[in-house]
Subunit: 155 residues, 6 copies
């Protein structure tokens, strides 16, 4: 077992996936933005707009920029992206799904979508409370690819 | 007090900062990537490369893409960006600083830099442990601008 | 009077605005997407989502990419962008506003925001009718700058 | 029949095209920029440059940015893009063609290329007449894919 | 004298230019693409198109992407960009000029514009000769800023 | 033999590669940045940072932006990118490799990666000597595709 993205001389590079077969791969990531009571109370007060909608769209668009942001990520023809943002006890839960038919996985696309959606919730609410915390960004599951499926276990 | 980015009809838009004076504004954000012992042990084994360096550069470059990622952010002429990534007990601590001389603040630039640096650490280490967690992204401090300075209080 | 963006030898280039004073400039553009009755009827049937919201966000984000899209446009620190999308008789009317404090105007930013919002309405409705027409994209008004104000006259 | 890009709960997302077969798909879009006599007369006066050439290149490059601009568009490996811009009676006619071998169509790529080429014509001529109108952007035809071919009928 | 972009601990970062005064700064860069006789002879055979025009536009647009490409470059509001491409004995000479009114210089914007214009000439001619060489990219001159003017001396 | 990227009417466009079979294609490009003795001596003086590492990452990320920079390049799903930067007599030698499984080659991706890595070395060292020269950017080799393999011959 070793770090990904390193060649034999120890230098970081993009892993060669030319020989990997193009199969469907999917990943789900999750982020949580902790909001206090008064910020949560302010969220639904918007007659027409909705900060969670802005966050969802930002997350979807960010998934498509993953290879632009993460140096060693391969550019991938994403076949599906979805981001859900839900008000739950104590904050907003974000769940991002990405899929591709390609030679490498989409964990980073799902993680990036979840992160940027969370950052957007922060941006839309920070006037009320600068101390708002993005409390976690994690990979929930991945399927497809030679390395096998992964599903996060409950903590 | 109300949500930022909303007009009187409740629709999300970019806040008009035309009349705000261009003064120096700085923000510092922090992210923490939780790594288990075996991943932490693998980090320094690279003779020439360094995942923390890749993360730092990714964070610096991401700060410049903030307005591309966060829908209601203004494009800003950043005058300074720095990202530090340090191995500490239990993981990697990231600290991102952004500054501008402009009519609006750079909180989102610092938060975006910290998030993308954290995502890059995840990408560089996920072959060892897919369960790695970005455990928090927070604003540490901001200075400059009419709304006053902010400094995160110890929890 | 001559074409903008051309030097004395007739070659296209970016106009030099170094000596122009940075003052507030604003522009408003309008686009109209013609929709038939059955498409208009389908628009409000979405319980949670709203194609007009997606169009608005796409337009706002596109304004920030104007200099990336239009070869001779200057990159500008936009201080304000808003896009409104309204169902009217016969279709969706889009109105995009952009502002900056800079040495050149933001007509192209407003025109680009209106165009991309209109393209997004097309994308969100084309499954119902591929013949949907973006029927016009025009500059409604501009203020600020040495060349004086402009207001489109009724036709 | 329903709006594209919506899931069962009515929330906008990117349609999952993972299972669609990769076949050649082509789309042609058309835009028209209305120019008055004096602007049309000024177009060929450039000894070396040519606003229509700038517009063509801008359109070709914009086709490649479609997924960056239109929120629910899939990133596609475009196999062909061409944009023609021709002076006709009353203005400039733009015709954009895009093709791919993929699981989804390229209507939006052709529409985006035509729109940005039209915006560029506006940008290159607006010094002569701010009232110039982009009078229509439409899909001319599409071929390939399960939904069948489409050809715009004469009005 | 020391390397730019390094802090006291020797880590690369973006230099803080917050305190520098915004004055006009200009830079000129030059690139040379060496072409053999048969390629040079093929250049003017295009009845309507012109590879040098494509190269010029690519260079102008690339100048605006400099901060996206060069990690430690500041995003700058460019006030002027021009690229000239001329057939000379033995190849194509490219000359790129960039200007800004800002707290830091535009050497990298001029160098990037010249490089990308040269790469585009290569792309447009490589079907005839893959061995075509970009033979040099250099800074010709810079003016403005505290570090003084620079003019390349003849070799 | 004729210029690539031109249609029968002589207008530049993107070549249609829809019918080409997706096979593995690889290209290697080389750039050389000439540095004088004092600049070369300053390079290793950085206790923690390393301008060659910044250059390597910039080159890798730039390869992914090739279609954004070079007007007639196809967007490609790159399966591998690597950039090496080595101190040699008289300067820094850069060697960039790109690979894809697609219907067209990656010469421009390798050339762009080498160029941007060279520009980044210039940026990181220009405080010491503005006269630093990028002395050549060339294609070293290509393999795969119908047009056959190419290997640069020694001069």
């Amino acid at each position: 077992e070793k770090l990904s993205h390193y060649d034999e001389a120890g230098q970081a590079h993009m892993v060669d996936v030319s020989a990997k077969s193009a199969t469907r791969r999917e990943a789900v990531a999750r982020a949580f933005v902790e909001l206090n009571e008064s910020v949560l109370a302010a969220l639904p007060e918007n007659p027409k707009g909705n900060p969670l909608e802005v966050a969802r769209f930002a997350g979807i668009m960010a998934a498509k920029k993953t290879a632009d942001l993460i140096p060693m990520c391969h550019p991938l023809p994403l076949s599906f992206v979805d981001v859900q943002a839900t008000v739950v006890a104590g904050g907003v839960e974000i769940r991002a799904t990405a899929a591709t038919v390609a030679g490498t996985g989409v964990e980073m696309e799902a993680m990036t979508a979840a992160s940027v959606a969370a950052l957007t919730v922060y941006d839309m609410t920070k006037a009320l409370d600068k101390g708002i915390r993005i409390r976690e960004v994690v990979l929930e599951s991945k399927t497809g690819g030679k390395s096998g499926d992964y599903r996060r276990t409950a903590e």
